[in-house]
Symmetry: C2
Subunit: 535 residues, 2 copies
Amino acid sequence: MKVGAWYVGGDRCQFTVWAPSAERVCVKIVDPAERVLPMQPIEFGYWQLTEQIAPGTTYLYQLDGKLERPDPASQSQPQGVHGASQTIDHNTFTWGDREWSNLPLSELIIYELHTGTFTPEGTFDAIAERLPYLKELGVNAIEIMPIAQFPGDRNWGYDGVYPFAVQDSYGGVDGLKRLVDACHQQGMAVLLDVVYNHFGPEGCYVGDYAPYYIDKYQCLWGNALNFDGAASYAVRNYFIENALYWLETFHIDGLRLDASDNIFDLNAKHFLQELAEANAELSARCGRPFYLMAENDLSDVRVTRTAEQGGYGLDAQWNDAFHHCVHTVLTGEQSGYYKDYGTFEQLAKAYKQGFVYSWDYSPDRQRWHGSDSSDLPGQNMVVCIQNHDQVGNRILGDRLTQLVSFDALKVAAAALFMAPNIPLLFMGEEYAEEAPFLYFVSHTDPELIAAVRAGRKKEFAHFHQEQDYVDPESMEAFDRSNLQWETSQQGKHQVMFSLYQHLIQLRRTIPALKQLNKQNLEAIGLPEERVLLLH
Amino acid sequence: MKVGAWYVGGDRCQFTVWAPSAERVCVKIVDPAERVLPMQPIEFGYWQLTEQIAPGTTYLYQLDGKLERPDPASQSQPQGVHGASQTIDHNTFTWGDREWSNLPLSELIIYELHTGTFTPEGTFDAIAERLPYLKELGVNAIEIMPIAQFPGDRNWGYDGVYPFAVQDSYGGVDGLKRLVDACHQQGMAVLLDVVYNHFGPEGCYVGDYAPYYIDKYQCLWGNALNFDGAASYAVRNYFIENALYWLETFHIDGLRLDASDNIFDLNAKHFLQELAEANAELSARCGRPFYLMAENDLSDVRVTRTAEQGGYGLDAQWNDAFHHCVHTVLTGEQSGYYKDYGTFEQLAKAYKQGFVYSWDYSPDRQRWHGSDSSDLPGQNMVVCIQNHDQVGNRILGDRLTQLVSFDALKVAAAALFMAPNIPLLFMGEEYAEEAPFLYFVSHTDPELIAAVRAGRKKEFAHFHQEQDYVDPESMEAFDRSNLQWETSQQGKHQVMFSLYQHLIQLRRTIPALKQLNKQNLEAIGLPEERVLLLH
């Protein structure tokens, strides 16, 4: 069931919203010319209305003649998360990427970026201007941190509350389309980070419509989303339609599913499996592959195994263990979850098998953890030596640049491109950016602001670091996280950039590196010599 | 890790308890001769002590010099759930079942009984006296409703709080062993219903020892047991050791895992899979099979699929859908979960495939439900036309006898034994018992008693029945639930008994019925004629 407002021919716009317990639902046109238009109940608690409405019209839904709320499936929020929703006519954009057919999964070299801090402008168009730089570097895919409308204009993106709305301050719908189109015309794939495990804490009104939440499970952010309880069909549909929306309407090439272990679903068919089925249908229909890549904390082979093997059938998952091994071997850090890592044997296992915990006891988790991934294809895993979480979730937001020597950075870079998995770079890594990537938000609710501050401090208590931290609400946190492009081609930064260029070139041309064949790889850790042998 | 008190040679008794946050743990001998004996911390938060102690000694654990509590793994509670635990020497019992090697899974014909109400005496020994009757009927396995120590002496068993302790009022450890031994010597298997999804609400002290609970998930009874959080290894171990205890020490042939869908475990290896692995090891060691059969509400093929197929590897699961189909076709009931059933096509599907909901929309659950079980072997499912839940969870506890004609009862019986699955009878069904099976408890906590009364009324609100109900705390509820043996061989009761005898005889001798081959079965529902064709 398509949800939201969709033009179905000319100016005829079809509104669909799920409000199963409402007795009356209307579309309230806000601008131009305020009007209230009654919707018709259709099946499964959905309401529908098709009306002649000019694109760009703003509207709210009126529930039972009282509550007026933005559309949970709003595609545009021109006045932010608390304002009216806006209709978008997707037919007006002219695509120039007809030749594009996506890249093979195994050949992806991913560059993760945050739209707001990647460029001084903080927009999609400004990213597009940097594509020649990324081409020169050699990466062939960008992965954009979440761009669903969030409160204010500074946010990593994981506080989004309108999964279908493109953050207005980044350039909205057309800005994102222009970026994707430009990428495709330059031979680059575009991956998008999407959040299906929670809504952000400010500006979320879905609870007024329907049981989007369930109190049976507590996720990291409170009550979990309702993926397996009564009426969960519509929550599942909402997110599956969201995935298809990005892939089909925005030509996005793949999705990174944030913290998919916090999607609680004990039904016989897991949401991720249903999503993979929908994705496979779309791929067949469009004649090109789309990729689903999960962040998942469970080190569980089910994520990428096929349905016949009892799995969900996704294309890949992030293997954080690789990062943790490289990080601990280089830094010697042992606080928090790093206490589970630190040996060369583990690093060798990350290369040779993938998951480092394959039903082994994890001191940090205080339980046995993970599954044996030795028979998974290398391309089922995405690995990195830095990413937004591993940098940004440090109290100082310090990159590896701040933690190890320049030579060690080079070793880390080489380690990344030797992995028989899909490599992911975090923006700025390629030139040894020294600016931090801090945690920043721009909430407006004072109670929430206080809670974020307290929560952040609590999170870092785990790492036993006593330093003061930069207030996430401050402009300083955001400004300091901007890339310092002016340094990127200077001195050692230029040296690192050349090294990355060279390593990526090797990776894309030498068969032994290109083919991601774990079977032909031997990895031996020599802890005495602090050497990892790969051959 | 073995937990509880175990004799390791002569009168040397080894005590092991998990108390990871305690700084001091002692065994306090209560009787004879009060003494306090300090335990030693060993690995993973366990404490241990080996001491010369006569069997039958009562003891408590003393935590940090203050709290004195019964043993969570107590094997005997001679003064009930709030009293001291008692050491048991299992070496004193002489077994006479050396020839026994269990029965093939596919040949089991199960008779479910409740120890307290099956006989006037309400003991294991009294069950043993009825074995000739059961042999005459033709069943070859009894399934005993839970016998873990519960508050008072009247309880279905699902309020047990000492999973290792045999209810004292039923006859305790030796009573159960005598029953199992007698069954084996008469060629009958013994299955035991065990509860691994919660502890009962009265007399449960495990929370004083360690994080047995987790607040991340809410199960049907409140906070879920900790199967996947920090320190969950010991909770998993506790229940796995419990399973092995029944199978190895009591010669039980298989376990029925109560409401296994309420064991919340999102780890890469599900508790049920780990349990199945431990069971497979034990079977290999003992040279005979033990069976794990789950009650599971999810209609999920994973329960019995192998680990290679992404499953848990249990031997069988209850398929309630078969019951619901037979029940609704015969009674026409459509309240509560029965609204999901009622057609002959569904009944045909239950025969031909197993699960009736194979990712279909369930009106009662308001979501898609279940998985396709058409390729599962018939012996992977246990089916019934009555059981303790389906009878006892009605406000009047009325059996099918009270709901349909005598002829319809005969049809139901035939329907059961035609199923290509393992049949299960509920005690008394075989002679059309007319006494109800009511819900009864004998809690002592007044607040709890009030809560049970309120909860019970709320549960039945779902079925929209307004009749008054029998107070679960009353002796009346228990007394009225006793089998009326005096009627069993009279008039129509005798007729029904003969029919069951005959049907069981056919089932055990005719290859088409015996072989549980779904592939050779055709099931066609003819709703107009109210006929189900099986051939």
